[in-house]
Amino acid sequence: MARYDRAITVFSPDGHLFQVEYALEAVRKGNAAVGVRGTDIVVLGVEKKSAAKLQDSRSVRKIVNLDDHIALACAGLKADARVLINRARIECQSHRLTVEDPVTVEYITRYIAGLQQKYTQSGGVRPFGLSTLIVGFDPYSGVPSLYQTDPSGTFSAWKANATGRNSNSIREFLEKNYKETSGQETIKLAIRALLEVVESGGKNIEVAVMTKEGLRQLEEAEIDAIAAEIEAEKEAAEAAKKAPPKEK
């Protein structure tokens, strides 16, 4: 009986759900993902392991479409992600069929979070080992949104957030440097945040941008260019600091 208990998510005497907490550990080991919301744009960035030489990098897209106006990035177990993404995609189409309207970002986030919660309260299953960042535009109001879900099934809306490896440092950076931006500025902020914990270069990060028109994956060259811009700005700021302090 004791061995069988391992497979079920039950409460510990001090009120913890250990399986859920272990799932959060799995998330913390996953690659970093960051999301930043602007006034007319939402940006997702994910750390990319340098691809093995023989691997076709196009088959390991980390930022995926759930519908024309909604995209998702995640940190954690990628196999679990595939299952969750497929269910979410079906739900997006099912919603379109039953009420003749596209889903709102909040609706699909609620659905994914509900699914993650269901697996923490059922027999013989383990929680999904991933946290997701869901971005999109509300089909009615045209307002951009960024939501995050985690293995426990909670979700909330964010102006900017990070998950996965070193997410705390990225979040600290974002808290210090976040301001309402739009267009290119938002993209730059997202890449700057990601570069805090990832080695520079377009090879190591994947960035996608969601606008009212849809999702656009940035080319490696584009990311390199923006990263170079950020480097230059950083150096200029350091040089200004090193210059002799002005008299008050």
Binding site: R87, S94, T98, V99, E100, Y107, S122, G123
Partner: protein, 272 residues
């Protein structure tokens, strides 16, 4: 008889129900098929036995100012008039109306059920459901009971973010979007008046009068329609009942008795 108790189910899955986690869709209701040589014929007979004729007149149309909905109030069981005061316009919520034609119990129950689903949608999504969505919910439910003897011929009229909306939904599972509909045994007569007098640019009073007249003319010729002609208006702020006139009184209003001159009078004839 399978009742739709989905509103009462709790969200948490029951022990030993892993199938819910595996498939994304819930199964449609099913029933055992009786042993007959000709099942389709048997089914048709059963439905004809159960389905009461849709003895009624209801109509609805979209015009510049919104949606006008009107209905009579007679319920008949064959040749017997069982009631002259049936509410055939059902208030689903403050901005959506449904009309009743076919089985009264079926219409009332499923409209009430639709009202529940609309409210739950509002609570879950923090926004009102569209007329499109509401009519689709009803149509899907009715489709899943197809062939089981439900008799519903309804129109869902409302005002949502996209403006006025009007859909016809029936128990065969059909759902049509349109500008003008009339449902029931009196509908041919109502269509005659409605189609003749309809213009998109009408004022609310003109549209109400058109709706009232159409119902009156249907009750005049159709034996299964009568009672009171109710007229409702659905505008941007929701629905409002405009009038409920007895069709007998409407008749004398439209065609008042003209006193005619006497041509000849009978006189007493002296006894022969």
């Amino acid at each position: 008889m399978k009742l739709d108790t989905s509103g009462l189910e709790s969200a948490a899955p029951v022990w030993g129900a892993p199938s819910e986690l595996v498939d994304g869709f819930s199964a449609a209701p099913s029933f055992e098929v009786p042993n007959t040589t000709d099942f389709d014929g048997f089914q048709k007979e059963a439905i004809q036995m159960v389905k009461p004729a849709k003895g009624t007149t209801t109509l609805a149309f979209i015009f510049k100012e919104g949606v006008m909905v009107a209905a009579d109030s007679r319920a008949s069981m064959g040749g017997y008039i069982s009631s002259q005061s049936v509410k055939k316009i059902i208030e689903i919520n403050p901005y959506m109306l449904g009309t009743m034609a076919g089985g009264a119990a079926d219409c009332q129950f499923w409209h009430r059920n639709l009202g529940i689903k609309c409210r739950l949608h509002e609570l879950a999504n923090k926004r009102r459901i569209s007329v499109t969505g509401a009519s689709k919910l009803l149509a899907n439910i009715l489709y899943s009971y197809r062939g089981m003897g439900l008799s519903v011929g309804t129109m869902i009229a409302g005002w949502d973010e996209t403006g006025p909306g009007l859909y016809y939904v029936d128990s065969e599972g059909g759902r049509l979007k349109g500008m003008r509909f009339s449902v029931g045994s009196g509908s041919p007569y109502a269509y005659g008046v409605l189609d003749n007098g309809y213009r998109y640019d009408m004022s609310v009073e003109e549209a109400a009068e058109l709706a009232r007249r159409a119902i009156y003319h249907a009750t005049f010729r159709d034996g299964a329609s009568g009672g009171v002609a109710s007229v409702y208006y659905v505008g941007p702020n929701g629905w409002k009942k405009l009038s409920g006139d007895d069709v007998g009184e409407l008749h004398y209003k439209y065609y008042p008795v003209m006193p005619s001159t006497v041509e000849q009078e009978m006189v007493e004839v002296a006894g022969a």
